[in-house]
Symmetry: D2
Subunit: 133 residues, 4 copies
């Protein structure tokens, strides 16, 4: 990718259920925020991951990495920024950045790797219509 990638943003409030007894957002909740970023990415590209699945294909997660920089708390407004850094015919890699919407502070960075599979779990080529990068 010689040019800058398309960056999608999703903004939302931290839910109380996403916090833990440390008083902060539980570290597994951010993995769900990454997913929220991917959903928004696909929507903003004029497409829908729900339709992708209805066509019989799935983007299975094969790897997740997250670096936690600063904690978020209940009711904080967060923005997930999400873009594609690598894509091949059967797989792709998303990168993420989660910031505190008001202060702009970076709270987290991460990435997720996905392969395209069908209902039987066989690895499939991503159809051209779904190459969203």
């Amino acid at each position: 990718m010689s040019e800058s990638p398309f960056v999608a943003e999703a903004t939302f409030h931290v839910r109380y259920a996403e916090t833990d007894a440390q008083g902060i957002v539980h570290h597994a909740s951010y993995i769900v925020y990454f997913e929220e970023g991917r959903s928004e990415y696909i929507r903003q590209r004029g497409s829908s991951y729900a339709e992708f699945e209805r066509s019989g294909l799935y983007l299975a997660v094969t790897e997740i990495n997250a670096r936690y920089i600063k904690a978020a708390r209940y009711d904080d407004r967060l923005t997930v920024r999400c873009w594609i850094v690598k894509y091949r015919s059967r797989s792709l890699v998303f990168e993420y950045e989660i910031i505190h919407t008001e202060t702009g502070e970076k709270l987290l960075t991460g990435s997720s790797t996905h392969i395209c599979i069908n209902r039987e779990g066989a690895i499939m080529r991503i159809p051209q219509a779904w190459q969203l990068w």
Copy 2:
């Protein structure tokens, strides 16, 4: 309450993590959506539940009821409507309705009862500044 109560609305997409192997939203996820409705209610009344807790008070849940009418799926846009039906000096009851934002179909109704407690768990009077109804 002789007059109609204030009704808050929160609208959001169903997240993939909130679905289950039946292909629909898991029934416990809606309890979190109720909470999202309450958070929005308090925000729209010009207040913040986060501040309420910083003042040393908590609204502990003492009862939850939910009736499931129709299932929601990943990426559906849902609207939680939420209002207060009963309040006393130390407790209050919220009612909820969750609808499919586009079709307007009612998916769920429910209620939650809360008592005001302090950090030590003692039942407290809700301060007048926090009587949001």
Copy 3:
């Protein structure tokens, strides 16, 4: 049911992810504990809900009620007790009690109502082999 019902018990530790910023188990986590009780009920009756679904049937949740008596905390050992209070040809009602395993204190009571549906969502008769009460 003139005789006492069969009571299943499932015992486990509270996970950190199940707590919230109040320092206690989040109220929606108990709804998942109820489900854990049902899974154990079906296992102890010599059956498996996973197999039930493979046969093309589902027990959809139509109602949930929970009364919260006392909070649980991270690492507490809890026991869910679960039994069937009502059953018809197409539906059944489970009741629950969650106790603190060591102290025996009752933390929660509740119930859930389920109807039997097929993959298309049509209401179905529960096959005799699956009438576990």
Copy 4:
């Protein structure tokens, strides 16, 4: 560590709420299973993370990595194996392996990095009594 590390094991059933619309365990649920492994590690070392927090210290997560090899499904019995691979005065790294208990198949590998902080978020030395490796 010239000798083999202590390895803790926690075994449990997959809960229905932990699955997603792909019919498999949602990828964020495994991050909670890692935590379940850590809790068990600390218990098996004769200690308790709950007590650690009561002493005013926390093990904050600074990094999570997970590689997904094979999917688990509802009701599968899983075993999380967990051990410490690196430790310093203020931080430590856990590694994980999740296997399907009956077949022994490896489903996931991963790691998590933690720093010791106090209630104010300041980085602290891990007290000698808590050096569990």
